[in-house]
């Protein structure tokens, strides 16, 4: 069993970036007292994701951190070193019900898409982007993306986590256009107010 599941495939140029952003995250979260499963590279397969997120087995009980490709209708992992959908409109209920979800991926929070569907079917919260977004291979970008996860791990409310991430993006807008660009497409969907990963989970 794990409190938090990390998914971060590595099968193309873009996921070289998103996988790198997740480097060190497991150790950090474990240092804060959370148990963590890190499905990296080939481990980010549909079968393993389903095994670790399936509602009945409850192997992941608090949160999902998803750093990978996304689209309006799916979040992607990999199979045989090729992109493969791992969370879809069809399995979103089983895989995300009663979890807090944080994504760095394109378009999963578009209107009528995966994040909205997941929330309607029981996911507690989904932080994602409404359109394609950018990533950077810099410590500054990594720290920006980590800010939400760090606040979540510290037991802050989802609204406070969102505020930390927005603040992190805003403080970096002089470093590249990508910070304001991503910020303009960032969206938090949620079922309730003032939830934390400790108050609203599968336990």
């Amino acid at each position: 069993m794990a409190d938090i599941l990390i998914i971060r495939n590595k099968c193309d140029q873009a996921t070289e970036y998103t996988n790198w952003i997740g480097e060190g995250m497991k150790d950090f979260l474990e240092g804060k007292g959370h148990s963590v499963m890190d499905l990296s590279d080939a481990d980010a397969s549909p079968a393993k994701v389903a095994e670790w997120l399936g509602y009945d087995a409850k192997k992941t009980v608090k949160a999902l951190i998803a750093l990978d490709h996304g689209s309006k209708d799916a979040f992607w992992g990999e199979q045989n070193n090729q992109l493969a959908a791992v969370i879809t409109l069809a399995n979103a209920e089983d895989l995300t019900k009663s979890l807090q979800v944080y994504t760095l991926a394109c378009s999963t929070n578009a209107n009528g898409g995966l994040g909205e569907t997941a929330i309607k079917k029981g996911c507690f919260s989904w932080l994602g982007y409404t359109e394609p977004v950018y990533a950077a291979k810099s410590t500054s970008f990594k720290e920006c993306i980590w800010s939400y996860m760090e606040a979540m791990a510290a037991g802050k409310t989802i609204e406070e986590c969102e505020e930390e991430l927005r603040k992190a993006y805003k403080s970096r807008t002089g470093q590249s256009f990508i910070y304001q660009y991503n910020l303009d497409r960032l969206l938090l969907r949620k079922r309730e107010n003032n939830m934390t990963i400790n108050s609203h989970n599968r336990l």
């Binding site: 490709h69 394109c106 977004v133 950018y134 950077a136 470093q175 256009f177 990508i178 304001q180 660009y181």
Partner: protein, 76 residues
């Protein structure tokens, strides 16, 4: 001054003031178009010198974002 000359001038000034940020590798996660802002500046320079279209479609999109960013507008 044309729009492209203006964005080139603004980006050149920004690169001079932010040399480390200018070399950070960045990527559009969906299109996988990878770039540095210094690399975009170099291509803009070449386009101006040779009067040729050197920037590909993905780079032209990035130039549009840079124009809005350094021009003080909002990214749309």
């Amino acid at each position: 001054m044309t729009d492209q000359e203006q964005v080139l001038k603004r980006l050149k000034n920004w690169v001079n003031e932010h040399p480390e940020d200018a070399d950070v590798h960045q990527i559009n996660i969906t299109t996988q178009k990878e770039f540095t802002l210094r690399g975009i500046l170099d291509k803009l320079h070449k386009e101006q010198e040779k009067q040729l279209v050197i920037l590909d479609e993905g780079e032209q999109e990035i130039v549009g974002h840079i124009d809005k960013w350094l021009g003080g507008g909002t990214n749309g």
